[in-house]
């Protein structure tokens, strides 16, 4: 799992691109706040898998791209993602030994923090953020985490990524 090939980067890149597409996929305007933070989840997953390949720098670039695509203030998502990935890196050994339920709870906290930074910037701009904007995406993302992990593990195995 530790080794990595440069040829795998296309797969990682592709997964990020598809996550970005899903992040801007138009949901009904009343239900937007339920959207899971797929990109954040994916970044956490890849950092766990390839800690020496991907890190805070990647998180920064990824956040910038997300800002550009979503049309939010440049740097907003970059800041949130950098902080989240930094904390992921600090706790990487613990996260790997955790069982599924503990991982889900930890991911909930990580995504919650991500949202906290995101809406902190929004609120500084004078917008109003409800409390449900924080916990709803975090909860849904955390529940998606085992699915995503399992699915990507399988895909990686099939495509021989990173072995």
């Amino acid at each position: 799992m530790e080794g990595s090939k440069v040829g795998n980067s296309w797969f990682i890149g592709f997964s990020f691109l598809s996550a970005l597409v899903l992040m801007v996929y138009p949901l009904p305007i009343d239900w937007r706040w339920l959207r899971p933070e797929l990109l954040c989840l994916l970044a956490i997953y890849w950092v766990l898998r390839f800690p020496q390949l991907l890190g805070v720098g990647m998180a920064f670039l990824l956040g910038l791209v997300q800002d550009i695509v979503q049309g939010s203030l440049l740097g907003q998502h970059a800041l949130a993602l950098v902080v989240t990935i930094y904390i992921t890196q600090l706790t990487i050994h613990r996260l790997r030994t955790y069982g599924t339920l503990q991982q889900v709870m930890w991911v909930f906290l990580l995504v919650f923090m991500h949202e906290l930074f995101l809406y902190w910037v929004s609120m500084l701009l004078g917008r109003e953020a409800l409390f449900s904007y924080f916990w709803a995406p975090a909860l849904i993302s955390a529940l998606l985490w085992p699915l995503l992990c399992h699915g990507l593990d399988k895909l990686c195995w099939v495509l021989r990524v990173g072995v």
Partner: protein, 264 residues
């Protein structure tokens, strides 16, 4: 370290946005690709609707459209004489002539993913003559105004966004008020309406044209509740937007004579 850079970027893009505009335009071209992709299912759906229709359905639709057209034409006949009358009366009163608005048909291709702002993306940009501050309408009323223009698409702030306000008047008696967004898609609040003002539930609010941004006379909202609280200086008046902010796909960008630059 990178977090600091991110903070610096946030500050920079907030306060020095004009100098970063050319860079931003380039980057936004890249963003358009994503909206194009997410719009694909929608377009495929439309294409299916167009190509897989039975003959009976088409005939049925044709019949109902013909009926509708007849009714609208009858209304138009009256409208022609009314417009002429109106122009003559305005001349008598020496007031400015009502300018016919030119419109551009656009399509909604995206919704901002950030739930704290109510912004939609339409598929017309500066290449089609769209400018910042341009009003957006749908078939039922005023929707919002353009806040950001790129060559091929633009972002529109809806009237219900918490940072948006526009001047309106009650259609029945011409009383002016300011309608501000509440962040809720189905609610506009009237600001500073005194307790003695003549407003009723069901009153239609139309744009008053004050503030030089929106054209005069487009329907904006309908009053749904009025609360007179003796403890407060003003009445609480809640109105519901006429435009179907959450489902209109085909929208109109109006050109109403003068252009105004800058954010509200």
């Amino acid at each position: 370290m990178l977090a600091l850079i991110a903070v610096a970027l946030i500050i920079a893009s907030r306060f020095f946005s004009p100098s970063m505009q050319p860079v931003k335009d380039k980057l936004d071209g890249f963003a358009l690709g994503f909206y194009w992709i997410t719009d694909l299912p929608n377009r495929f759906n439309n294409w299916l609707d167009d190509s897989l229709v039975s003959r009976e359905e088409l005939l049925e639709e044709n019949r109902s459209l013909k009926g509708e057209r007849l009714i609208l034409q009858r209304k138009l006949q009256q409208y022609a004489t009314l417009a002429a009358d109106n122009a003559r009366l305005r001349q008598l009163m020496n007031s400015a002539e009502l300018v016919q608005d030119r419109v551009l048909i656009a399509e909604l291709i995206g919704v901002s993913p950030d739930p704290t702002e109510q912004v939609v993306v339409v598929n017309k940009g500066s290449e089609h003559g769209v400018f910042v501050g341009q009003p957006l309408l749908d078939a039922y009323g005023l929707m919002g105004q353009v806040i950001e223009v790129n060559p091929y698409f633009s972002r529109v702030l809806l009237i219900t966004d918490a940072s948006h306000a526009l001047s309106v008047q009650i259609n029945r008696n011409g009383v002016r008020a300011v309608a501000e967004g509440s962040g809720d898609l189905y609610e506009l609040k009237l600001r500073h309406v005194s307790n003695t003002i003549d407003v009723k539930v069901g009153d239609l609010l139309v744009s008053s044209g004050l503030g030089q941004r929106f054209p005069v006379g487009y329907p904006v909202a309908e009053v749904v509740s009025i609360l007179h609280d003796p403890g407060r200086a003003f009445a609480t008046v809640i109105a519901r937007p006429k435009a179907q902010l959450n489902r209109s796909r085909h929208v109109l960008l109006a050109f109403s004579g003068q252009r105004n630059e800058g954010r509200p």
